[in-house]
Point group: D3
């Protein structure tokens, strides 16, 4: 089978056609596919703003602007990869645990086919079933978590599964290796003085947004690369790690965050890590009248795709 | 205790002060209170757009424009009633059955105190626990249901409790008397030919939007009044009964609906019915950039308040 | 001097050029001018939403869509009139009485030149100084007032000059003949049972929105024409007379109003009345994201222009 | 091949999956297909607002709310038809004549396959190449044109192909039979007194919006049905035929139009006419922040689909 | 009396309940209260965009996201303070001097009760009556003024009290000690070459935005701390000190400003100064469709609250 | 003739009057005029988002905030220059080559009169006819091009004239001296690995956004000044050179760009260069709900105006 590639925007206008990510072929047949875009339109886990169920569609809409050659990573997606848009995983709005089962099962099929998934959320609660699916294939993985929030609170309203709790659950369930994992970008008011310490107690290494801004992105990249090393790693990008000026359409925005340029520079620093998957979450189109949040999400997903291709010497 | 009244907007500007409904006193002490505004900020039951959890706050914001004398019903709320804003019932976002318990219990306190509740949703799934609370006090009630949709589907995604199913459940649970109840305003595409017949089979009398537009609002009022008679009745107003031009900020909008004027004329026709409660649901502020949906919701709630005062001959 | 005409939109695209009303010449030299568009960008009189200071600019922006032939009134503005955009009257934001002096003086120059003014508000407080200027030239005039509100309240916060009081002041100052004047479109909650009676006590004839909707626009036209007769008349159009669905961008919106079609039909019924001026007020662009409010305001002003030309038999 | 049907929204949430019209299968293989949705994302023909190139994508987004059974026409699309989303025709933004060739050729393939096209514009200039394609198969067809504007002007800025001229060109090119065609919904200011007469001189029967509002939709349906008779007919629906309150996101909005309910009632009156195709044009998402314009466009397309199924007695 | 604390958002969802700042108790009984949020919904002083009268309500809406522990200042508001939402001061829209009297009197009550006020504007004209109230209690205070504009112009349109003049008036009235005061963040076009020199001539120390960006926030903090020293100091934060990308919803935006992170870092540098009050002004919700301006305002107020608690060693 | 100056905003409120740039006189008589604002409302060249035809009007609207003294360049526009708003050049929407002729001819008149043009686009395709007009007067000029994109692609959809191709065409037509020209700000995904190399092969010096961010604005200024030297130079500013957070309303936004402060600092570094003209392009109001894009465009044009005055020692 010939590799799957995005449509050529200099031949057919970008705004033409059914909206798949980058106007890639939409298929659930992953034979020979290197990486697959996978939507996870679930937002029942949100404790505040909702609407991330419309995130995958908005990110696809924005992605039609992307071009195949990534100069920052020197990767040409149309030459080095076979990539596709797998569509969305099935979910049950209003029912978290049912959805978790569907998400884990659905992602399992992608992983079984050997494709690296780039998942488009959805609120951050979806990362837990994603990690469950990854664990079945890869065992414990390292977590590279970019977010304003640690999301290691124990519960909300007495319930364990929300968008504020997945990374505590992931440790408890043995899905990730917290001692080889990093949470970066943390900032903003907390419920109590111990909130971040509790994340550290779980084993995570934390880099606050303040540290990133004082010491710079190259320093942050270095800290993260050293901690991750050669482990299999999953990268989870919560859009609220950037400032609300750059991503107003998120569920729990916190002023004082990264710029989009800093976020992209950070991701581009991870070439060569051993990624087994990625997600970009908390894109809420109803709160994004200018579309810059979904545009940034599309670029983050594009960098993730590019990272899967870094180091492939041969073009098709 | 002196009756609770809204603040005078010719003395203190409308935009001043903490946002309660009509700038009424906020209290949970209902002694001597005739009617209470009660928010139900729950939207996990929605199968499509979400955001009704922010509905009560938006309706309160819009309500500051309301003045106390209702010329259509010749009722002066500042003279005839003691009314208050009770605040919001507690809910658990993401967990429908837990929230149902909290809503039924919370509303029970209002009913036990003898106040007529005017509830501000929330998606339409909240009406079921409201009816449960009413049933404990009042037994089976009649339902006056204004909506583009019958909401008597059996399930969504295999689950019984959503915003598309409450009025089937209410019959099954014996909460309402369908044979003395009316659903009015129905329109739009359906899942199948039998959808409306199934609602009729449950016992409901249906008036489609088309019939209302052809035969007029006075005819519709007459049909409803005859069916309801002297029963205790609960009125549930889904904002999508009006056209999206008049209420863009709803969960499942359907073109071709009533105008706001027709909807208000309809409600004003119900003076003298034996109301035990009201709700206005499916106000989604994130989809309402001009605020006209929450403004209309505030006016609907205001007419409901006025209906509780119709026929009171004495002012305080 | 040759008559002043709008630019031809089939020759030069509508979106080209400096934004004057209908792309008319902008001049303060009114020699030979039949009618002049005059902005009154003042909104300090508003008791609720503000922003009408940007109304004239938004109405000009919307007006570039207008074409010169009005089929409803069979009037070709490019053939029958010399019309211009006079620009804006000077005002002092934050200072009502100073602005009143400037508005009256500024409008006086237009009137002295013999042009019929079509004024673009501004909040409704501007109509009082407009009537003062008219009174100096024309003596007492009849008022044709289309509005959801009577605006005959006595004061707000102890002050006499606001957008809620001009038509009481106008009677008190002897500027209008209330017994030959009509207020039409009234609706919505009031401060007290006597509010409308007080307007009637001042001498005004009132037609409520409900009456208009029940008896129809032709009936309303007839009532108004009979009352106005051959008097010199000023027409004041508050955009909130139409429903918020048709004009969301107003200061004090009231659901249940006229449609834009009904409003335009009403105005078109006034051909042959003896108009000495017009205003269209309460256009608030910050609350009008779709621009339909300023578009309607532009059409109202266009009908006003057309009314000044009705009955002119000769083209230039 | 089994018939193509929309996905079941009670099984898989409406917001899941790649956005095709009604979540129909996307295919360009039209064997056995009764009707095909076809996007025409072209807007270079617009003389005022632009952005209709994003119309097809927005209409698809809105269409996911549609359910398969149309109670007004008693048609179940999932039972009576094989329907699909064909995707978009190729166009060249900025180049009208090149695009005309591509549109005519692209639509020709759909027609050759025997599917009835429901086209999603695009500005109104696209109807001309559509009619060229239809003429090749069907010869002269009748036109059922619903629009605020006649679009029979001769030129704009000296050029013959714009969104204001297609229905003059169509007569000149012999594509339509104007004497068996109707233009309905006309209103608003014109360039000159003869504008509408020129349309009549071309042969078209005109029904103004004013006539429709005075005489009613059933009368209008009757006039149109009598004129069209048994001719092969193409229906072109410009969204500006409805009022800007119902469709703010159009290129050249005119206040005073139909309500969405009147427009849908009108279309539903055409059951049994001999339709060879349909388009719905002038949906401009950048001017449609509430999405009600694209929602209405989706419903119009849905009624068109339903009309293709009226009278089919057998389900699959 | 037990200390007043915000509601726990892990127990009751943030979106539940009447909207007070941080869901703090709303009370005007300030006994034992350390700091009070106080709204000042006045915008008649604005010379350009208006709408700040809705600022306090929008800031309260946004503040429900705040959590009690401030990691940057190591302060737990739920442990160290008794804080409340006092509601809004009364004002008279349209009448600046009347409002000044009401604001000074209203704030006087807060100050008399010994609470440190955190005031939510309102346009910047409100700071003058605030300083008058402070002066009565504290005598001349130092001013720490963060703003794109010096607001020391002499008049607008011949009037002395506007949002462009308070800090000249404050010197003239002897309310502040300009020689111990700093204005920081100044940038943008000016009326004349001497504008900034005039501010310096009044005694103020000026730090331009350019200097802050070149020399850094720590340098700026140092300059300010040295100038303020141990004086009683009032901090006034005009949201236009940050770039329009971070705060689009202000009255007179100027490109080229601080980021939200820089602004928050700056404020956090003031721990230990002897604050007697704070305000955050020029939040205009009608120009803030994404809500990031009011969100930032809420965070600024939160940092101000935190500064009042810095150094308190004991929790309750 | 006395010099043309902007209106005084401390005497007449900024929001009063017909909207010209900075409320300058609107005239096409350029005798004695130093610099002229010139609109170019053309957007048919765009390959993606459209709407820049409304850019000049939106930039004029935003420009009313500007004050005459520029402290960064120490230039008082009201003292040093005679400047005016020339209005818009004529264009033909939908027809690029016709429009090119009109633009070149229209600009030619401005150049013949000796005024330095500051052009307000329009999409970037308009720069080619601008350069043609300049070439007739000035011969080959240097290009100072600030943009996320090189716009040196060869064609789109087989056509040579689009907003993605002007700077290849300009070299081919001999309009610019690429060897003395700089393109700065380049970033984002590309069609292929050679895209930037092709721009270099044409002769251009390229500075990527990444280089600018790493080495700083002063370094960039230095590189550009050295390359431009004393050549006659035209500066073209595409608003997408800044990040979408600062300019959401552009045609082809790319995350990771400059801040507005960096962009303004860059422009201010060019004092003393030998400018023969400027444009600021790709301002799309329909995608700019907060107006910050057009506000930034107005400031860029203001800096351009200021640059024309740098070094003039004498005031009028």
């Amino acid at each position: 089978m010939s590799p799957l590639k995005p449509q050529d925007s200099q031949a057919v206008p970008r705004f033409c056609g059914i909206r798949t990510f980058m106007r890639l072929p939409h298929t659930t047949d992953l034979k020979g596919v290197d990486a697959a875009l996978v939507g996870v339109p679930f937002d029942t886990g949100s404790t505040f703003r909702v609407g991330a169920r419309f995130g995958p569609a908005a990110i696809r809409d924005a992605s039609i602007l992307l071009r195949p050659y990534n100069p920052s990573l020197d990767v040409d997606l149309s030459q080095l990869c076979s990539i596709c848009d797998y569509g969305d995983l099935d979910v049950v709005p209003g029912f978290t645990e049912d959805s978790y089962s569907l998400i884990a099962a659905g992602l399992g099929k992608v992983l079984d086919a050997g494709a690296v998934p780039v998942l488009l959320g959805g609120d951050h609660s979806v990362t837990l079933p994603e990690l469950r699916a990854l664990h079945r294939i890869h065992g414990k993985v390292a977590l590279l978590h970019l977010d304003a929030h640690s999301d290691t609170w124990d519960q909300y309203f007495g319930h364990p599964y929300t968008h504020g709790t997945p990374f505590r659950r992931a440790v408890e369930e043995g899905l990730v290796n917290p001692f080889g994992s990093v949470q970066a970008g943390l900032r903003g008011p907390l419920y109590g003085k111990n909130d971040l310490q509790e994340a550290r107690d779980l084993g995570y290494t934390l880099v606050t947004c303040r540290e990133m801004q004082e010491k710079g992105i190259p320093w942050t990249v270095q800290v993260i690369r050293e901690k991750i090393g050669t482990q299999k790693v999953f990268c989870s990008f919560d859009l609220d790690v950037v400032d609300p000026a750059y991503a107003p359409g998120t569920s729990v925005p916190e002023p004082g965050g990264l710029s989009s340029g800093e976020a992209l520079e950070l991701i581009r620093g991870f070439g060569g890590l051993n990624f087994v998957g990625f997600d970009v979450v908390e894109c809420l189109p109803p709160y994004d009248p200018t579309g810059i949040t979904s545009l940034l999400a599309a670029h983050v997903a594009y960098e993730f795709l590019s990272l899967t291709a870094v180091g492939r010497g041969e073009s098709f």
